[in-house]
């Protein structure tokens, strides 16, 4: 018995996260996704060292040239190296993706948890505010927020984050409603835990699984959304590269220089697929009720 326990790794030092990671490791799709995201993060952090050229270095002899040994992914209409721009662009995309979603997750999660837990008038008030926000087209809302705050990376993140709040609030509320009436919540109250403690320690962690999946998918959405805003001139200002912005800029050359759209598109796609794989894997691994 003791041996079995020790072997299965349940005996000592199995914090929730370690335990989750043990199970995540068995899911190879999630591990590939995680590897891709790690590579992207490294690329973003060490962009200056990795990128063969500067993001704004122009070479007028090499305008709209297809991939070659000199420029692995070709050059754009100003003779800038596409690969270097993609590498620098990963900074913006990853930052916007993760930070915007963190803002939405923190705000939406709290609103949803409070609404779901207390119910009644509080629930009605908060969720109607969320409904009002949902009724405003997200793009319009983001444009309004961005124009009030002014263009720039940080304001872009806030704008993207705020537009995603209702989705997280609704999801959190739904999970809280399903967890709220379970006996262990009543047991926690009967132990003398305060409402705040019950929400933070019992309800929210038990509601995290769907939220984490939603968050990873939303990182992808946020990246796309940031691209849209960049296209409208409200996001990152040129010449700083941004994947969505590159995609938009490449549109006029779709017929003659398709690679200009293909590579930023591929970058977005790979990032999104990788994030979704990790999200899916995390959902499975985070659920300790699933024994394997």
């Amino acid at each position: 018995m003791d041996k079995v326990v020790a072997k299965s790794g349940f005996a000592r030092g199995n914090s929730l996260w370690r335990y989750t990671f043990i199970r995540l490791r068995r899911n190879y799709l999630a591990m590939i996704g995680l590897a891709v995201i790690l590579v992207l993060i490294l690329a973003a952090v060490f962009a200056e060292r990795i990128a063969p050229y500067g993001y704004a270095t122009q070479d007028y002899a090499m305008i709209r040239k297809p991939p070659s040994a000199r420029h692995l992914l070709g050059t754009d209409e100003f003779g800038r190296d596409v690969l270097s721009r993609l590498i620098y662009g990963s900074r913006v995309s990853l930052q916007v993706g993760f930070i915007a979603v963190s803002i939405a997750l923190a705000a939406g999660g709290t609103i949803g948890a409070v609404a779901g837990y207390f119910g009644g008038a509080v629930d009605n008030l908060l969720m109607r505010i969320m409904d009002v926000q949902l009724a405003i087209p997200t793009i319009l809302l983001a444009i309004v927020i961005s124009s009030v705050l002014g263009p720039g990376l940080f304001n872009l993140m806030i704008a993207v984050g705020i537009t995603a709040i209702p989705r997280f609030a609704r999801l959190m509320r739904a999970s809280v409603l399903s967890v709220k009436n379970t006996e262990f919540i009543e047991a926690a109250r009967a132990m003398g835990a305060s409402h705040t403690r019950v929400i933070l320690l019992y309800i929210m962690p038990n509601c995290m699984a769907p939220l984490i999946v939603q968050a990873t998918i939303n990182v992808a959405n946020a990246i796309l959304f940031a691209a849209t805003l960049s296209f409208l001139g409200l996001g990152v200002q040129p010449p700083y590269p941004e994947w969505g912005g590159m995609l938009s800029a490449a549109r006029p050359y779709l017929r003659g220089n398709a690679y200009l759209s293909v590579f930023p598109g591929l970058a977005i796609m790979i990032t999104i697929v990788a994030l979704n794989c990790v999200g899916d894997g995390l959902r499975d691994a985070l659920d300790p009720k699933q024994k394997r």
């Binding site: 326990v5 349940f10 005996a11 000592r12 030092g13 199995n14 929730l16 009644g120 379970t182 006996e183 262990f184 009543e186 047991a187 926690a188 109250r189 009967a190 132990m191 003398g192 835990a193 305060s194 320690l201 019992y202 962690p205 038990n206 300790p288 009720k289 024994k291």
Partner: protein, 335 residues
């Protein structure tokens, strides 16, 4: 049980009403409950599903959600009215003074915390400083689980072990009252016996009073000193164990005993049942709430209920025509 007690009771519920306002109408869950429990004693709180036993227990812990719940009456615990306590006082009471064991060990533990952490949670909520982990290990040993298993999550333990963890959590702060809400209902028979023995043993070791909510008269006989029978939100009979088991006075109590399968009964004989169903709590009958199902019902019963009275010293019953007086009542009524 309104007679002046010799020593002040630990828990004294007086005239408790609990209602829930729902879309289907007002649910009268508890209707004028009077109940008292002395220090160190154990009381079996028996009744059918929906009789309001759990609601009454949750009221003692002030855990009735309001809205939709409403409470009136007084609940004295160690001489203090818990209905008038402030929220921090109530939190100190829950777990610290009154602890609860829940019915279903599968769902009463937090699935994402290790069992050790859950015991530590209880300890740290009620006492400051270090030593929570040691206390958790101590409690696990006390309920017969190796302390190493404390690092496990609830789903890695069997049902019986989980219920023992529930007991460990409840007793970690040495409460003066332990409420066990059908602690054995979700367990199989052999584990039931283990859990009952454990509760019995720990109750005497930790010296806590016990309020055992159950519908199993056998379990009550095993552990309890006193019994209170609840029907449709109020007590119908209360006495000490021997008196009540020897001579049930209320027809409902009698019905409950008749419904217990006997080893010496004829196997072909059908099990006795109490005909009918518990009354709809949104629409309680006029008069005695048991009257629609009572085999000895009279016109008087349908008009007004009798109210709790001391039929014999220490034996209380809420019935116009208690069981052993039937013949006398027959004669009286027939004139």
């Amino acid at each position: 049980m309104d007679a002046a007690p010799v020593s002040a009771p630990l828990l004294d519920i007086r005239d408790l009403f609990v209602r829930f306002r729902t879309d289907a109408g007002v649910v009268h869950a508890v209707n004028g409950l009077n109940l008292s429990l002395r220090r160190g004693k154990s009381l079996g709180f028996v009744g059918e599903t929906g009789a309001g036993k759990t609601t009454a227990a949750l009221a003692a812990l002030q855990l009735i959600q309001s809205p939709p719940g409403e409470m009136t009456g007084e609940i004295f615990f160690e001489g203090q009215d818990v209905m008038k306590m402030t929220e921090p006082e109530k939190r100190a009471l829950r777990g610290g003074k009154i602890a609860m064991i829940f019915q279903d060990p599968m769902s009463s533990l937090n699935p994402i915390m290790t069992v050790e952490e859950q015991i530590m949670e209880m300890v740290s909520l009620h006492s400051a400083g270090a030593g929570a982990r040691e206390r958790a290990r101590e409690m696990l040993t006390l309920v017969g689980i190796r302390p190493e298993r404390g690092k496990d999550y609830p789903h890695q333990l069997s049902g019986g072990m989980r219920q023992r963890v529930g007991i460990a959590i409840a007793l970690a702060c040495e409460p003066s009252l332990l409420i066990a809400d059908e602690p054995t209902t979700a367990l199989d028979v052999t584990i039931q016996a283990q859990v009952i023995d454990l509760i019995k043993k720990l109750q005497s070791e930790v010296r806590t009073s016990l309020l055992l909510i159950t519908h199993d008269l056998g379990v009550v006989a095993e552990i309890c000193d006193e019994v209170a029978i609840m029907y449709a939100g109020r007590l119908v009979e209360a006495a000490d164990l021997r008196k009540l088991y020897k001579k049930p006075l209320h027809p409902y109590t009698q019905g409950l005993f008749d419904a217990v399968p006997r080893l010496d009964a004829d196997p072909d004989e059908k099990l006795a049942v109490i005909s009918g169903l518990t009354p709809d709590p949104t629409d309680l009958p006029k008069g005695c709430s048991f009257s629609p199902r009572c085999p000895n019902v009279r016109d008087l019963c349908r008009e007004r209920s009798c109210g709790m009275r001391e039929h014999e010293p220490g034996h209380f019953v809420d019935c116009h025509f208690p069981m052993q007086d039937r013949n006398a009542a027959n004669r009286g009524d027939g004139q």
